[in-house]
Symmetry: D2
Subunit: 345 residues, 4 copies
């Protein structure tokens, strides 16, 4: 199957290329980059030197739609909202790594993203591609809104507890921590090496655009409106997200019981691993891989549940999950082209 | 004034030496190290090469008590509990950087530290040296229990809010993050460079021995028992602690109003700086210095208060605060020997 | 084909396992670890949780020799020298990642390793597995001495120039720089995170045990004794080696001409990539992969050649090259199970 | 004494401010920043919050010349070459941290800096401020060209050997390694955190503009033209430079003898420390301080001398040495305001 990647020189694209390079059934037909068109990828990213010889291309929708079955958008906000529909109309499946089709409410999009939303009919039909939860919907989708990195880690950590009624919805606090690659490839003073090295920063308290995305899914799961207190921190490392999640337990329940609930919830899911009692996951343990590792601690003293959920933000939080969704879309085994061990150390 | 440092080759001691080296009124008379006695400090710590020529000494209490006015303990747990009283009896003031005299309850010490507590009479008379809060008590103390690194960042961030009745005591959650130097100078697999670099780990959820220390002071301030949910994380950096603190607001109040409460609370305190609305402190901004920088965010949507409090764990969280307490003890200006800018970048 | 790994919990072993896990023709039959036998690998290395269920085993040579065709030794110095011959005698091929069979002279081994060498007959028949150079010998070997990490980066950078007579043998200086994982998994004060982070250290100037290994191959290539000045530095990163190599040019020759010599030399070699004029490789560009990337600069002003050669020390410098040698041994395409893109960023 | 800093928001300026803040005799009268004039420093650099209340100013030469005795230029290339003469004419001493007055030959400046040099009369009278070597000239200077970071580490390491005739001038190779702060505060793709973290890069082989500066001083010292092969590398850390220097020994001489030569050469110099035989300095051991630490290894096998010289690039390699030069200029003890211990760890 032939696929194209639009937005070919960001970190999302380069990770898509890494996984597609070894995918047994999918082949990269075109990599689209407006800023670098005509150059080979190895000139932009020397680590691919000699491995992908096709030059980067300008986008011509009609022509590209003829050549490929699936298009991945690894584009900045507000790019795919106009482009993806043009491919869908031409029966090309779209997997959008940006946030343009994640929120079903155009008002929410306008409020949190600060620009007009995509056509509402597409917002309604787009499927939220949290693979473990919406596998069935993804399988039949035309347009997949690939989840954000923070929502992936946070929702995979929270949903079993919400689903089982273990926690008070009103009490959820998410202290999220991300490596710097989450900020993308564009330079900025705050991601300048001497400013970020040996440093730890909080940013955008209660204001991150991933908040409505998380709340939308929690609300859908709970059946009533759920809000979260959500904080984000930059960690002096390149990859990795940890969501440390706090909530009041609805009843007295042991760590072991909760672990069993989580294990049952993810029984069929090869990419979610629940740590045993007393063990907590570290981001390095999923580095470069599509795994989400989860640790559980119920605090008897305070009646609070703490959930630690870690992913590689560029893999399970972006490109890996996009490949997983492609596999679902095509009916391939979900681990196809993704069953690699994390790189350690 | 002549002082001695016991436990001379840990990170606490080496930072004490850095500040005492330039202190205008205090002089290092002796550095005690059982493991390295007889060697000069420069042989253990080449960065001090040529600067401190006196050899490290074995401890002889009677003799040392004659030579110095103040003894700093930068020792592992369960060392000072027997030694400090011997100096106090000889009218030598003690500033203990370990946790041996921080908990007033011997039962709590036994439970959280796993060994018998110090003599209860000393636990009762020891003053908890959180300099900004207990300046007066410190000034008259014989034995000062210098606060732990996490409690310093956490309590300085929480106390103005607790004091002003802004938050529900039962709702306090502390998501604490520390650089690796907090684990001390001893090697261990989890602090081996390849394991900790480009990694983010949660550890000891709800089980850190700094919890009873925090709760003791919150309880004292609130006038009734207060418990906290407290999590700790290792960050891939050497220095710095950030406590991200969450609590339910007792009433609707704006970020600006809370900032004013905090500014008023710390009006006379040169080492606590409150950021203006919209600004959040980063650990690098206090690196190597005795400052505690605090940022505030009240989330209107969820009614929660978030407080970001940062310190250098080895300075305000240990040796710097110990010097500050020595200054209080002697009636010197509190900034004496500590009024340096953070090192940036 | 079934293989075993001896020394199953070091970094060499864990990387072997990563590549073998996805190798299409080889299968891990046993992982031997004396210290951890009986435990599953996921209990030692949580990043493998759920992926390899066989418990780690004690070594029983006779029994293991029946079960496998190839044994990898990822053991500390002085272990394989006695063990490998026992497998060879039983017609099991051995690939030794330690230094025990790299030096053909027992005297050199004794001098640089400080313990008696392996049986001389094995030293003589062992093949030095620098895959690009000795592919033919490796294909017919019974016992392969897998090269050291520094020698791999250094020799791949030097050999084309030595072979072409471009440089004065007596003038070779190698300024080598390694990430900290090169020191292995054992803890030590110098690899304690707070000591190594934000630090740069030179160590073992002219005394590293990889020196005789490099000189042995240079001497073999040149046809007369060659010595090198060799320095090693620890870089605050986990993976990656860079050898910056200096030598006097024997004649005036341009950077472009030298690049052509190198490209011709490695024409058939998929894992060596020569950068174009003006481009220099960075260690991140080979991260996690089996590539060796090389950059060239001829300095007209001083008549010196500078060669920059980078590898991932744990892959091309250890386990990846071991897999490459296994492929050669079995006549499989050399890239089998190794044709992955580097992980970037 | 009142001083001004021009170029007030770069790393050079912020370090000048750190040292001047505690200098007993000098006082910051004005900090000039065109881009940020009118703001207080704490708004640009939160780590100085509350400590320096004067707003940043626009430059008005006539007026500033009345207010201060010394002006520090912490400006990009090609700024001070026109401005400094205007202050010198008004009898204000200038200490220039940029490269504008370091090269005595206008042709060299044009060639290496790519723009026209300063007025030749000023190039001739400017004193090269390598404090340990040219203390006397600095004391009488009107305009001091503060050395570059690489030249400071390299020349302090080389000069004793050159002076004593220990090494062949034609054989000098400098493998220099720098933390990323050396690239300044401006953002660029190559200093973007995710690109530089866990990475090691060589750059500008034989082309760095510090080369003519080093050769000029070596030539002056040797009495005949000396050229060096000079390579630069970016290390994933914020601060620190290491120059690993290689040269052929002119005669057989032991490491101990060379150490004695170096110790004698720097006998009167408090900021240069020579390590004993077998010990090599690390950059962390001078972090934040004005020290230059040097290690020596003579390789008997190859007849080469290796010298390891480390500094903090922002201190001894820039602002610290500028303060040292101010002290020399005013006849104050050279350590005034600089006698702090390095920060460790």
């Amino acid at each position: 199957m032939k696929v194209a990647i639009i937005g070919g020189t960001g970190y999302g694209a380069i990770e898509l290329i890494r996984f597609l390079y070894n995918h047994p059934y999918a082949e990269i037909e075109a990599v689209i980059s407006h800023s670098q068109s005509g150059r080979v990828l190895g000139a932009v990213y020397p680590h691919t030197d000699g491995l992908l010889e096709k030059p980067l291309e300008e986008l011509v929708v009609e022509e590209l739609a003829e050549r490929v079955e699936v298009v991945f958008f690894a584009t900045p906000p507000a790019v795919s909202k106009d482009l993806a529909p043009q491919f869908v109309e031409r029966d090309v499946k779209c997997i959008d790594l940006s946030g343009d089709f994640r929120l079903t409410s155009p008002t929410d999009y306008q409020e949190w993203y600060g620009s007009p939303a995509a056509d509402e009919s597409y917002l309604k039909t787009a499927v939220y591609g949290l693979s473990e939860i919406y596998a069935q919907e993804v399988a039949g989708a035309k347009l997949i809104a690939n989840p954000g990195c923070y929502p992936t880690a946070t929702l995979l950590g929270l949903l079993p507890a919400v689903h089982a009624g273990l926690i008070e919805d009103r009490s959820i606090i998410v202290d999220a921590k991300s490596g710097v690659s989450g900020a993308g490839r564009g330079t900025s003073p705050s991601t300048h090496y001497p400013e970020m090295n040996e440093n730890l920063k909080a940013y955008k308290l209660g204001q991150h655009k991933h908040i409505p995305e998380i709340e939308q899914i929690l609300t859908r799961t709970a059946g009533h409106p759920v809000q979260v207190t959500f904080s984000t921190h930059l960690i002096p490392m390149t990859r990795g997200i940890m969501s440390t999640i706090y909530a009041d337990l609805t009843r007295q329940v042991s760590t072991n019981e909760i672990i069993e609930v989580f294990k049952a919830f993810y029984r069929e899911q090869p990419f979610v691993r629940i740590r045993m009692n007393g063990e907590l996951p570290a981001t390095r343990e999923v580095y470069g891989s599509n795994y989400c590792d989860i640790g559980i601690h119920a605090d008897k003293r305070t009646g609070k549940l703490t959930i630690i959920s870690v992913i590689d933000n560029l893999v399970k939080g972006a490109s890996g999950q996009a490949i997983q969704n492609m596999n679902l879309l095509k009916g391939w085994d979900v681990t196809t082209g993704l069953n690699y061990l994390p790189i350690y150390p």
